[in-house]
């Protein structure tokens, strides 16, 4: 994002810290949910929280995922609105389904259920994360039914308006002995981004 960008979101260090904390709480809840689903300990790292342009997000995701992703998209609407996306590198998604479903299930059955199972995983993770964030900000956000997308990062993200800002949360889920990683993004329009900025600003100053 250039310095001249009229849509640039500038958070001061305290606001950025507050935003990161709210997201950390949300993602910790999501990691606990994922751990319960697969009966494994899930390690969580949120190394990056940034507002990015559409093109920056595509570049980031390409670098992190190797190009092809499986994604679960869910719309959240309320005081702030946006499209939440949970993205997995495509070559790892079947590993996650295998952990989730019965180990004695045939590969054919696993493959048949892959999209359906990932959609339910996405539903649970995104609701755990954004539900907790909504509660932390004292707002309400209703979610739509989740949908499954698959393809290149450009195909999954590329139809966004250029003026859209994306709250990019890079979340590394790691499961011991399984190289499973995920990324969560929240795509908002400018109006919602400004409202979020106001909510975070209020939260940041409440304890000063």
């Amino acid at each position: 994002m250039s310095a001249e960008d009229p849509f640039e979101i500038v958070l001061n260090p305290l606001e950025m810290d507050s935003l990161s904390e709210v997201i950390n709480i949300g993602m910790s809840h999501a990691a606990t949910a994922l751990g319960a689903m697969i009966s494994e300990r899930v390690q969580l790292d949120v190394p990056e929280v940034r507002f990015l342009t559409r093109d920056d997000v595509i570049e980031q995701l390409n670098n992190l995922s190797g190009g092809k992703v499986s994604a679960v998209c869910q719309r959240f609407d309320g005081s702030i609105g946006g499209d939440a996306l949970l993205l997995f590198p495509q070559d790892k998604s079947l590993d996650l389904v295998r952990l989730l479903l019965s180990s004695d299930m045939s590969l054919e059955m696993l493959t048949q259920l892959e999209q359906e199972a990932l959609t339910e995983v996405g539903n649970i993770i995104l609701n755990a994360c954004f539900g907790k964030i909504a509660n932390s900000l004292n707002i309400t956000m209703e979610s739509t039914l989740p949908s499954y997308l698959m393809g290149s990062c450009e195909e999954v993200i590329g139809n966004l308006d250029e003026q859209t800002r994306v709250l990019f949360m890079r979340v590394d889920f790691s499961v011991p002995n399984h190289d499973i990683r995920g990324f969560v993004t929240f795509v908002m329009d400018i109006e919602s981004t400004e409202i979020l900025h106001g909510l975070i600003s209020h939260l940041a100053t409440r304890y000063q």
């Binding site: 949910a33 479903l101 259920l113 199972a117 539903n123 609701n127 509660n135 979610s143």
Partner: protein, 115 residues
């Protein structure tokens, strides 16, 4: 022997819930519905002892469906199943007098409800 109806649009969720209950109660009759319309069609034909209702489904959502089920089966034990942990969902369930089982489901959570 009891009868149970699982209402959830996710095949995975229905499969996991059915597996947990069947392992503990192999003699129970467990039926499934993928949406509210299917569920209402089933309860018009037979009554159930236990019902789990997913919140987020195509068409009618779980909190809208539950009063209709309660009217049809006043003695059934009904629980709302949801991944949504927001306060307004909890309030909606409280208003209807039904417990929430939060997704992801685990054997402990399910068996605490079904017994």
């Amino acid at each position: 022997m009891k009868s149970m109806l699982i209402i959830d649009d996710s095949i995975t969720s229905r499969m996991m819930l059915k597996s947990i209950v069947s392992k503990e109660h192999s003699d129970w009759t467990i039926c499934e519905a993928a949406n509210s319309e299917e569920a209402l069609a089933q309860v018009s034909q037979q009554s159930f002892d236990l019902v789990t209702v997913d919140y987020n489904m195509p068409g009618m959502d779980g909190l809208t469906l539950i009063p209709l089920l309660q009217k049809e089966m006043p003695n059934a034990r009904i629980a709302l199943l949801t991944a949504n942990i927001q306060d307004y969902i909890q309030q909606g369930a409280d208003d209807l007098g039904v417990p929430i089982i939060h997704k992801p489901i685990t054997p402990a959570k399910v068996l605490a409800y079904v017994g």
